[in-house]
Symmetry: C2
Subunit: 195 residues, 2 copies
């Protein structure tokens, strides 16, 4: 048995290692217990099912993406710059993660697609950040004639091509950055139009 | 041996049947020849490889999607209505095809992702139709301050969520139609902004 105290952090680190080695289809509680040299029951105290453990791995991955976005929100920047930086960060973190380790990125994407509730919370959090920024932009007179939350959702959906894991293959094409700029400029024209 | 004259049409019909039965990984020239009760050489006169046959199946499928779009282009409609109808047709034809037969839709999508050149031609054709409509809109004074072709590409990319086969699962959610309207309204605001 292991001679160190277990923690959620240690279990999640090992779970990522096991997922990396065996892929999303195979990795389970028993594999993680075995890799940590602890009993199934020891893991069970922290995560009561394979689903609970996978949800926690997914949540940690998604939180790593949104954490810098929480920091961007509190910067003193014009709203249109802040909005760009939020979406740019989302896109860059996904694209860099996929380029650095395509297999692990695909594994995370599979986990996320199965962890519906965790994914919904993550997306709602991003829409919250965009909504807040759009609201500031409306107050500042930069954005006009739009409903903030609806527009935040539309921006997230209209940029799917650049951050949704289904399109990871497209990110290998260097023209993707140019495409994003064209889509972004068109969306920003829509946000700033005077009615 | 078969007692009817072969044609490209007959071969493609049978190839679709074989793909439906065996899936995209397995169906090949020999399977199609067997299903038609003709020799491998008889098929070979029309399609010289498995890839050539698959490209032809893909092309026919994609042409069925764009054919009504060619008709929309020649209607006497305001440019913003025409632009909406073009993209709406693209979206509806994909979504209906996926809902009606999800497995066959997935098979076509796999073929299309492998037939890069055929797919590129299809996408270029759609961008051509959108570009033409945007040009008419600029001439008519409906659209402003945009570069037609670049904007056509941006519209196609920004609506990926609604027509790209990777998102077929999302189309089961009835809210997808509402999402499209919100994205579309934002894009149209961008197209009609006076500079």
């Amino acid at each position: 048995m292991a001679d160190f105290p277990l923690s959620k952090e240690i279990i999640l680190d090992k779970a990522e290692e096991v997922l990396r080695r065996f892929g999303p289809a195979k990795a389970n509680l028993l594999d993680v217990a075995r890799a940590l040299n602890v009993s199934h029951a020891a893991i069970y105290k922290y995560y009561s099912s394979k689903t609970a453990l996978r949800d926690a791995v997914t949540e940690r991955w998604l939180d790593r993406i949104t954490e810098p976005m929480n920091a961007i929100i509190s910067l003193n920047l014009p709203p249109e710059v802040k909005l760009f930086q939020l979406v740019e960060h989302l896109i860059k973190s996904k694209q860099q993660s996929s380029l650095a380790d395509p297999e692990m990125f695909a594994t995370y994407a599979t986990l996320a697609s199965e962890a519906r509730e965790v994914l919904e919370l993550h997306l709602t959090h991003i829409v919250d950040l965009l909504t807040l920024t759009i609201e500031h932009g409306i107050t500042a007179g930069t954005f006009n004639g739009i409903e903030p939350r609806e527009t935040a959702q539309a921006i997230l959906i209209a940029t799917s091509r650049f951050h949704h894991p289904s399109h990871a293959q497209d990110w290998l094409n260097p023209e993707i950055h140019y495409s994003f700029n064209v889509v972004w400029n068109l969306l920003m024209k829509g946000l700033t139009q005077r009615s």
